[in-house]
Point group: C2
DNA sequence: GTGAAAGCGCTAACAC
DNA sequence: GTGTTAGCGCTTTCAC
């Protein structure tokens, strides 16, 4: 058996090539290729032989070679800062799962908030990734150009500017809803807790909130922490909630900050929520529903967002010249226990108010 | 200018090849290759010409072709279930960052807890990934064999069995430390909250805890939820903390469950922590330090873990035949506010007890 | 230091 | 339906 000997003393394991499978199966190299190529035609007999040989040898198609030929791999890049943060982690998790279910291979590129992400993006170009999804931050112009120039689709999440395809959220409507609720509760002085990050989502929420508050004749105070995280929330709370200010309701641009605000208000200032202070967040991260918080917040569905991203990706791949595809998602308000009731007998339990209409997509 | 015309009416952007760069720079194809190959020798003059041409054309080396030649890509797979969970998200985030810093490309493969992960792993083989890191779950035998057979290194986290390289944690020592602390506080009836998942880490923690408790003459009750998450914690608490049982201290196999236990104990049973009930967790997720919890817990450093993984990876790549590499990490106990004091004047603030020695690695 | 030529593993176009 | 052939973009001998 000098041919298919399994006990080769050069014991370094290595990948098997289609050539070896062909030899073992007694067919041509292309027959092997065809059995593993979707939609190619092989007779059941050959196919069977090939499959057996492949199985025995432990053959795995080389997708590097396939990609080289197609000038495109199945890789899809996800660019994100703070990937360990609850909502971002959920986005990444959900998107990865969906990509895998669709035969794609998710690559996770982490960036600093400060970075342009340029260097990271080049990796995705060099591997001929099918597309790049920017989950956070604002891709720089150079970044967008580079993708454009090489014909790699780029899909952004949570931006509003013109340019690449993106999926967004109706921040303004959410912010207006908050003001409406606070006003209906008879509040006169309300606050906004945000960060200095300045991402489009946060800026939109802030602007719409402040505008709506002014229009409603409410006094509004904006507190800005350095980062959009739990510690930022506690810090903002320490500045915003001085007794003389007598803030009655706070809208936080994300849940993480809201939870920091709540903990600070309760533990450091001895405030009762919602009796002394109402708090509303954004995202509906898992922690928002925990017993210690029961935060009223706007629900951003990572699942729907991921589905939209995939839909955009498919459309974009099938028509590279289509105009920018933009998808807007609902953010229903989840009523929990951090907003004081307007009158007795209301607002307990978990109610869902849909506050924004669906602009795109109705599947499932 | 029929040669380098930039306004090609066939407006589909595409990737540039080294051939085109060579033409524009007026050098040979290999000269281009050499400028982009680390350690190859090119004259400064040629190099300069090539770099300019590449820049102008927006050239990106095709790593698919490179990998085809090398029979190995820079991809590194991370296999994980529940990637949205706080500690797992931190592991993924940290590991991704380190991999990128080291020129690797992290691929995130999500699996169901139930899945063998076999199908996902094949993707990594087909792309000739440099290695697979299993962050959770137990890779099946078939899975391990497949990697082995194709010569792809596989590194596991949190297992104890023989077989692949792995980084582990001294679960037994941590569990024993908990019992020691509870005993020193004069407790007689203690509990363990875990899940039915049965991962090696959890099993080790449980066994060591129960054994230590029995040896110390403490009565110990084990409560097992279906999953190792927040809801599992609340459920376990509801079963474990019946008034007649009078449990005084609970060790939870991870922080997520511990937080669920705390919320249930406080909100549903009206217990004060730590006056009525002491709680100790494991992992030190960000939420553990939040004001609402201030959980005493064992700190698992994602950063050190990731560094160890990279160290193992490098060693393994440089010597494929080395015996299994095993690395054990410390889990210092972070004393916060969920364990009652043995006597007045102790246990406030945040103290760090190092409970396990370092077995491997001292860099940085 | 440079260019020519071979070949990595694969798919697709082409004959039969 | 099958085998033969060419070629994807790259690195790496090999001459010079």
């Amino acid at each position: 058996m000098r041919d298919g000997n399994e006990n080769d003393p050069t014991d370094l394991p290595r990948y098997i090539s289609a050539h070896e499978v062909a030899e073992r199966a007694g067919v041509s190299r292309s027959a092997v290729s065809r059995t593993f190529t979707h939609g190619a035609s092989v007779s059941p007999a050959t196919r069977e032989k090939v499959l057996r040989a492949a199985e025995e040898l432990g053959y795995q198609v080389n997708d590097l070679a396939r990609g080289l030929l197609a000038n495109r791999s199945q890789l899809v890049g996800m660019i994100a800062s703070d990937p360990e943060t609850p909502f971002r982690a959920l986005q990444i998790s959900t998107l990865s799962r969906l990509l895998i279910e669709n035969g794609r291979v998710p690559v996770l590129i982490t960036t600093d908030r400060s970075e342009t992400g340029q260097a990271s993006h080049e990796t995705l170009l060099r591997y001929r990734a099918q597309a790049t999804i920017v989950l956070s931050g604002m891709p720089s112009k150079a970044f967008i150009d580079l993708a454009q120039r090489n014909g790699q689709p780029l899909i952004a999440v949570g931006r509003s500017e013109e340019g690449p395809d993106h999926v967004r959220v109706n921040n303004a409507l959410a912010a207006q809803t908050v003001v409406q609720i606070f006003a209906a509760r008879g509040m006169a002085r309300i606050g906004l807790v945000t960060s200095a990050v300045g991402s489009p989502n946060l800026v939109e929420r802030e602007r719409a909130y402040v505008d709506a508050a002014r229009n409603a004749g409410l006094e509004v105070v904006v507190e800005r922490a350095e980062r959009t995280d739990y510690e930022g929330g506690t810090l903002a709370a320490s500045l915003l909630l001085s007794p003389q200010r007598r803030i009655e309701g706070v809208f936080c641009v994300n849940d993480l900050m809201a939870l920091g605000v709540m903990d600070y208000a309760r533990n450091m200032l001895g405030l009762a929520i919602p009796a002394d202070l109402s708090v509303i967040g954004f995202d509906d991260i898992p922690q928002a529903s925990w017993g210690a918080y029961r935060l009223t917040t706007f629900q951003q569905s990572a699942e729907r967002q991921a589905r939209e991203i995939l839909r955009i990706l498919d459309r974009r791949l099938s028509d590279p010249h289509a105009p920018p595809i933009i998808s807007e998602l609902d953010v229903p308000l989840i009523m929990r226990d951090t907003v004081r009731s307007p009158k007795p007998g209301k607002g307990k339990g978990e109610q869902t108010f849909t506050t924004a209409r669906t602009t795109e997509g109705t599947e499932k």
